[in-house]
Symmetry: C2
Subunit: 167 residues, 2 copies
Amino acid sequence: MEYQEAKEKFISTWGSLGTLWGINKAMAQIQSLLFISTKALSMEEIMEELKISRGNTSMNLRQLMDWGIVTKALIPGERKEYFTTEKDVQELARHIAKERSRREIKPVIKILKDVSSIKDDGTEKTKELIKQTKALHDLAETADAMMNKIVNQEQTWITKSLMKLIK
Amino acid sequence: MEYQEAKEKFISTWGSLGTLWGINKAMAQIQSLLFISTKALSMEEIMEELKISRGNTSMNLRQLMDWGIVTKALIPGERKEYFTTEKDVQELARHIAKERSRREIKPVIKILKDVSSIKDDGTEKTKELIKQTKALHDLAETADAMMNKIVNQEQTWITKSLMKLIK
DNA sequence: ATAAACTTTCAATAATTACTGAAAGTTTAA
DNA sequence: TTAAACTTTCAGTAATTATTGAAAGTTTAT
């Protein structure tokens, strides 16, 4: 496999994986393109490389910046804006985990807490609802806490912890 | 909050969370309905409760069965088929983690391995592609291994391990 | 073998989500 | 202040994904 083929394979695979996990294709592809690029890229270059429109590129770059995994890299003397992604996979994982926790997991935990706190009226179905949502709440909270804990350590800690678990 | 409201809130929240993570709404809602039900439900009952068509119910039940988290519960003397979901949250988490690993993570790890194994032609861009996809490969493999490790223990082990990590 | 009771399939359609391109907006240089 | 160089926005459209409903299929009872 040659460079060009490998690059395309990587970008398109990453795009499909994103889709499978609720992330849009263009967003995943822009990120992966930046991830293997040796330099910051302009909007023009991204559009050209991925064959997507200016508007699409602009919107997805903004989203990636909102997620904190892409940043503007101002190149001295250049008028255009250039973009780079976090290049360290562990930092990348940190950002993504942190954001998904904040945006998606935390709110659901909150609702599970509310739902599992309804008044027990003594009926079987109410008891079951309370029991099951409480179990889900506890699982979600434990998993989320673990995630955040891992994510808030210095980078090397992650590998060490995981290794400890695995071996 | 009364039972009915809590129930609806739970089911619709679970549906939205599913959507956010690439699982279709009906599928997530059927599962959550079964999860808090005190008994196995027929297709009729599910359709009625969630206001979805027979075809949709049938297809999504099949998918849930493919994922191994819903099973047919044959009720003696009944012609109809009844369905239940895994009621233990930890078993549920096990199944989901295991399946997502098998279907989605493993194939991507394979591709990352291929891509990161291309011949180093000495150019900077090739070196970068190799370096970055290798880093991603290692991260994915470590995370996946951890997942599978956790997932293949007896149930209580999970909580213990997570607790150890957190405290 | 027939029919009733049920489930599955799938073409048509609806709903959702992503993408485009051009107009409007912004920034910088002269 | 003007205009060139660039970015953002957003209404319209395209692509994708989910859902319906009815016909076809299956199973069971008689």
